[in-house]
């Protein structure tokens, strides 16, 4: 099989060992239940604790707060092994702390780190990131949720939407406007779920059903000044930094999803017989499979190359943007072809490919829409 992930010069023994553990974790704890969880729109909270035990939640966070040292290739291994279950909503909610917690780990006060990181990395509490607003998504600099200073508190008013783990999270890393217009007036504030004036509404979605995506409402919600993450009005840069890691993780996950769909389609094509032959013996089908494999291979190479550059200390923003698009477009192409190869069965609920097909758009839009990625890439290429 040409597409084995986790092989090649970028992976060392400890990556392979972690991959073996992750594979077993996913096969034992997730795969048998994933369909039922997706249909139920929820997965057991206990899964966070199990994910903490295997080292998934702590990955990349500082050891003194219960983190586990690991590099980007551990993160790629984790994302791609999780993707084998073919349920992005589960992966996204289970790992919502990978976008909610890095600002706290990087910029938070000692008190904030101790209060949030320990319980989240042990799988006892859930962390979410809240940036997008009903009035505008990708345009972070124009966000309108306000945090007005009153003595030792901020008074927060406004709304957030499309927030992953939005219903169940205990800690929300929320982008608010503490200053004037534009990017220079944005701060990050930690808001706990039980603050008076903070309510949530569940959202119904095309895909990612296992994820409790929600709208958040803040109505004169009082938050102590001690919950400020980093400096006041310096939140924009922290948000942008966060996106780099998120986008590489999304690219890894999308290519993993593409591979899961490809493998399902290939297995189906070998088994299903039409006109006296297995599907895979029809040229039109096996050429489809080659096109799928080719794109997955190319995306994996770009992913590993870009991750390697980041590990060398570079900040290749244009490539990270293009990589994310390459991965979401690969997933879109492969998911569509996989459903086509599965035929009527691909239209039925049950196969991974059907679920993955419904998860194409959330990836092409979330974490930076494809159009925004192209714009950002062209700007960083100096055009």
């Amino acid at each position: 099989m040409t597409l084995e992930f986790g092989v090649g010069p970028f992976y060392r023994e400890e990556h392979r060992a972690f991959q073996a553990s992750m594979r077993r974790f996913v096969e034992r704890e997730i795969m048998p239940h994933v369909e039922a969880w997706d249909e139920a729109g929820e997965f057991p909270r206990d899964l966070y604790r199990r994910a903490a035990e295997v080292g998934l939640l702590g990955l990349g966070f500082p050891e003194e707060h219960g983190g586990v040292p690991g590099d980007l290739f551990h993160a790629i291994v984790a994302a791609q092994e999780l993707a084998r279950a073919g349920a992005g909503g589960l992966s996204a909610s289970l790992q919502s702390h990978t976008i909610g917690c890095p600002p706290i780990a990087r910029l938070g006060s000692a008190d904030l780190k101790a209060r949030v990181l320990g319980p989240v990395l042990r799988g006892e509490k859930i962390s979410a990131l809240a940036i997008t607003e009903p009035g505008g998504g990708s345009d972070v600099a124009s966000l309108r949720t306000t945090a007005r200073r009153e003595g030792d508190h901020y008074v927060v008013n406004g709304a957030k939407t499309f927030i992953t783990s939005g219903m169940r999270a205990d800690f929300y890393t929320v982008a608010v406007r503490t200053g004037g217009e534009g990017m220079g007036g944005v701060s990050l504030l930690l808001i706990e779920r039980d603050r008076p004036g903070f309510t949530r509404t569940l959202l119904k979605k095309m895909g990612w059903w296992a994820s409790d995506t929600a709208s958040l409402h803040f109505d004169d919600c009082h938050v102590p000044v001690a919950n400020l993450i980093g400096e006041e009005n310096a939140g924009f840069r922290a948000i942008m930094l966060n996106f780099n890691g998120e986008r590489i993780g999304m690219a890894a996950s999308c290519n993993g999803m593409a591979r899961a769909a490809y493998e399902e389609a290939l297995a189906w094509a070998r088994e299903r017989r039409t006109f006296g032959r297995a599907l895979v013996q029809h040229q039109v089908i096996r050429h489809k499979l080659v096109d799928m494999a080719m794109r997955i291979g190319a995306t994996q190479a770009y992913l590993e190359q870009t991750a390697w550059r980041v590990m060398q200390g570079e900040n290749p923003i244009a490539d990270i943007c293009m990589l994310k698009n390459q991965a979401t477009q690969t997933m879109a192409f492969v998911a569509s072809e996989a459903v086509q190869i599965l035929g009527g069965s691909g239209f039925m609920r049950g196969p991974k490919s059907e679920r993955i097909y419904r998860e194409v758009k959330v990836n092409a839009i979330g974490g930076g829409a494809e159009e925004i990625m192209k714009e950002l890439a062209s700007r960083h290429l100096g055009w």
Partner: protein, 249 residues
């Protein structure tokens, strides 16, 4: 009490085995290798003995090429304390493995040696028994339950038609069956810690053991392809086919 577990590097259980074109064996190049699943159960049992305060040290031993070190690392990440790699690129058959393990046991003086009941590559199911015979120790094979008491071990064995419970005087050899336990997966923190645990390297010559094969493989072939089923028109035809063609009634 010291425990030794033997771990073998074999083709991963998920890999679809292919026979080499020249029929000398199965294809091993570019094939994913892992710890023999029965040995994983052995490591798990040993680590549980340590966690229960019964065992004081768990030593993982592997025999094979340099890459067998990865298999030992897996055992260390699961909780074993240190490793011994007996390095050789030669073919090592069960009798040679038993002799090498005997030499290790004599140097390490454990109270119990745990092995998988068989390795999933050659399915020999011989090493544990041979080792017990060479050492003159008691053996409890196909264990589905192991309880250690004062100077003895009670082992429940999976035998045809039921369970047999035997009491062994320690030191003893135990081989694991599938239902003994469900092995843990190594967590990332433990994978990182395992990098610092020591692995001792030896050769068969260091241990004074002649590992020359005593068995010769003549040829290795694919099992016959399963024939497709066929439909019969009547009960009479079915009975005829079962009687005359299949010979089962």
């Amino acid at each position: 009490m010291k425990v030794i577990v033997a771990v073998k590097r074999v083709v991963d259980y998920n890999v679809k085995i292919r026979v080499k074109a020249d029929k000398t064996g199965v294809e091993l190049s570019n094939v994913k290798m892992s710890m023999n699943p029965f040995d994983e159960i052995g490591v798990e049992e040993a680590v549980r003995l340590k966690e229960a305060g019964v065992a004081s040290e768990v030593v993982a031993v592997s025999i094979g090429p340099a890459q067998a070190q990865e298999t030992i690392r897996t055992a260390l990440a699961m909780g074993a304390d240190r490793g011994i790699l007996i390095k050789t690129d030669e073919e090592v058959q069960p009798l040679a493995v038993a002799k090498l393990l005997k030499a290790v046991v004599e140097a390490e003086a454990p109270q119990i040696v745990i092995l998988g009941k068989q390795a999933i590559d050659d399915d020999s199911n011989q090493t544990g028994q041979m080792l017990a015979a060479l050492l003159g120790w008691a053996q409890g094979t196909f264990a589905s339950k192991v309880a250690l008491g004062d100077g003895k071990a009670t082992v429940t064995r999976e035998v045809d038609g039921g369970l047999q419970t035997v009491e062994l005087k320690l030191p003893a050899v135990v081989t694991t069956d599938l239902r003994l336990n469900e092995p843990r997966y190594a967590s990332l923190p433990n994978i990182m810690k395992a990098k610092k645990k020591p692995i001792d390297e030896k050769t068969p010559a260091d241990l004074g053991v002649d590992i020359a094969p005593r068995l010769k493989t003549l040829k290795v072939e694919e099992p016959p392809k399963r024939q497709a089923g066929r439909k019969v028109a009547s009960v009479e035809e079915l009975v005829q086919a079962l009687k005359n063609e299949a010979g089962v009634i």
